[in-house]
């Protein structure tokens, strides 16, 4: 479970990114965080990853107060959370399979485990035939699938996605969304930051809407929180 209590984030330059944020996400949920550009979505995800330190408030993930997490423990905490970005962030000089395997290598997984697991996740994202291709030989949608495969290969309990469809056409975007639903179906808690109204409306999930760093709506249903 993720519990966010009275979270505030003020950047050093004085920008107020988050103010009085409170919400809970149960295990296995699928949640959208929506809001216009600059409303604080990315900051909220970064706070949950402990990539930025919050100014005030508490984030409890899996029973652990991440404010109190020692620096040396952060890597192990991150292994419980998969993450994907708008810009895929694949390594251009590695093949699809190598990009995915990389996430296992750097947490010190055994070679035999890596060899077993990589084909499994590539099959799950539908890229078993592209495992030897390089990122620049793939479409945007395929690249984001590789990024998703990399995010879930270590079987994280949570998956955070920051605008995962921001660089994709509607067709590819829907493909990624249904993949996120599949991943959610395996028990992974999925939190997606997005400002793609059409998609959020179609998905019909719980939506937390931000405006100027505050939550203005938290309910099941579409994107539009002004009505």
């Amino acid at each position: 479970m993720i519990e966010v209590i009275n979270l505030n984030k003020v950047y050093k330059n004085g920008a107020v990114a988050l103010e009085g944020i409170n919400f809970k996400v149960e295990d296995g949920e699928f949640v959208f965080i929506v809001g216009s550009s600059g409303s604080g979505k990315s900051t909220l995800l970064k706070a949950m990853l402990k990539e930025v330190n919050v100014t005030k408030g508490i984030i409890i993930i899996n029973g652990k107060d991440i404010n109190k997490l020692k620096k040396g423990k952060i890597p192990y905490f991150r292994r419980e959370i998969g993450i994907v970005f708008q810009d895929f962030r694949l390594l251009p000089n590695k093949t699809v399979a190598e990009n995915v395997a990389f996430a296992m290598e750097v947490v010190g997984a055994k070679k035999s485990e890596i060899r077993k697991r990589v084909p499994q996740v590539l099959a799950m994202v539908g890229l078993q035939n592209k495992r030897k291709a390089y990122p620049n030989q793939l479409s945007g949608g395929e690249q984001q699938r590789v990024a998703l495969a990399r995010a879930i290969i270590n079987k994280p309990q949570y998956l955070l996605a920051d605008e995962p469809t921001g660089n994709l056409d509607p067709n590819n975007a829907m493909g990624i969304m249904s993949l996120l639903e599949d991943i959610n179906g395996t028990g992974t808690t999925v939190i997606v930051a997005s400002h793609a109204k059409e998609i959020v409306d179609v998905m019909d999930k719980r939506v937390i809407a931000l405006e100027n760093g505050r939550i203005v709506k938290d309910s099941k249903g579409g994107y539009n929180y002004n009505v």
Binding site: G72, P75, F77, R78, R79, I83, A103, V107, K110
Partner: protein
């Protein structure tokens, strides 16, 4: 960590190869610091070696006048015995003096041919002192006899003190040069590692997102620095070992009056200390250079 050792080595190797010009430059700077260490160490340790040989051998040699009769010579010997700071006196007769000279000119026998009965090598006393610090006092006493019983006195003090001064100067120069070159080496290694870190910013970012530990991220870069340091010091160490060996051989061959293998410090003795300290220097330069750069540019 040992599970991952091959991964680290592979990554370090890729970095080293990718920035191979900088790798080469870093290795060369480590090599030059090590080379300076080697040259000055060899000079200084040889001077020390020669100095200690001096101290252990004769404190002084006094040459007896040609005219002095055997009786007078015996009386003079008694006077020498009275000097308390002398620990040992070895008399070298006319015959022994000739034999010594023949030894020195070994191989060039004809130089001394026919001189056996009427040769210019004088009788002498080889005096060892209880300590080299009494050298000046004893020298003063013996100086009184010069022109009378003694024809001349050979006292190495002036040569030794010059060597001591030269040794001090060499040590000072070497410390300054090694310090300066080590600084340059560290800066260049830092640059190399910084380039490696920068060319891998994306990778490092992803590594952190998927939960790689800090030490996991650091190891390839540390290995890179260690590799540069070790290779940079091994190359000049091995080549100087061979060169020093050759030079000693050459000197002993060309200068037969120096006893083979005894005058200069043997190559094994020099490298017994030089090899570990040279390797340590390279290792330290490599690890300090890479660790500094990692600390500065890798927020892990």
């Amino acid at each position: 960590m040992f599970n991952n050792i091959w991964y680290f080595i592979k990554e370090a190797g890729v970095n080293l190869f990718r920035n191979r010009l900088m790798t080469l430059a870093s290795i060369l700077t480590v090599s030059s610091s090590t080379l300076i260490l080697i040259i000055f160490f060899i000079l200084a340790s040889n001077i020390n070696y020669i100095l200690s040989n001096f101290e252990n051998s004769i404190g002084m040699t006094v040459y007896v006048s040609e005219e002095l009769s055997s009786e007078e010579n015996l009386k003079f010997y008694d006077k020498l015995l009275e000097i308390e700071t002398i620990s040992e006196i070895v008399y070298v007769s006319k015959k022994e003096a000739f034999e010594k000279a023949s030894d020195i000119f070994k191989g060039n026998d004809n130089v001394l041919k026919g001189l056996e009965s009427d040769h210019p090598f004088p009788r002498s006393y080889e005096i060892t002192l209880t300590s080299s610090e009494y050298g000046e006092d004893v020298y003063k006493i013996l100086k009184e006899y010069e022109g009378e019983e003694l024809s001349s006195i050979k006292y190495a003090q002036s040569e030794t003190s010059a060597l001591i001064i030269i040794n001090g100067v060499i040590q000072l120069i070497s410390i300054v040069l090694i310090g300066g070159l080590s600084f340059i080496a560290i800066v260049i290694i830092m640059n190399t590692i910084t380039m490696a870190v920068n060319s891998r910013k994306n990778e490092i970012n992803i590594m952190k997102y998927v939960g790689a530990t800090n030490s996991f991220v650091r190891w390839p870069f540390l290995l890179e620095g260690i590799f540069i340091g070790i290779v940079g010091s091994v190359v000049p160490l091995i080549s100087s070992f061979l060169v020093y060996n050759e030079i000693l051989d050459l000197i002993y061959k060309k200068l037969p009056m120096i006893e083979y293998g005894s005058f200069f410090q043997p190559v094994e003795d020099v490298f017994e200390i030089l090899l570990p300290s040279g390797l340590m220097l390279g290792f330290l330069l490599g690890i300090v250079g890479s660790a500094t750069s990692i600390k500065k540019h890798l927020n892990v």
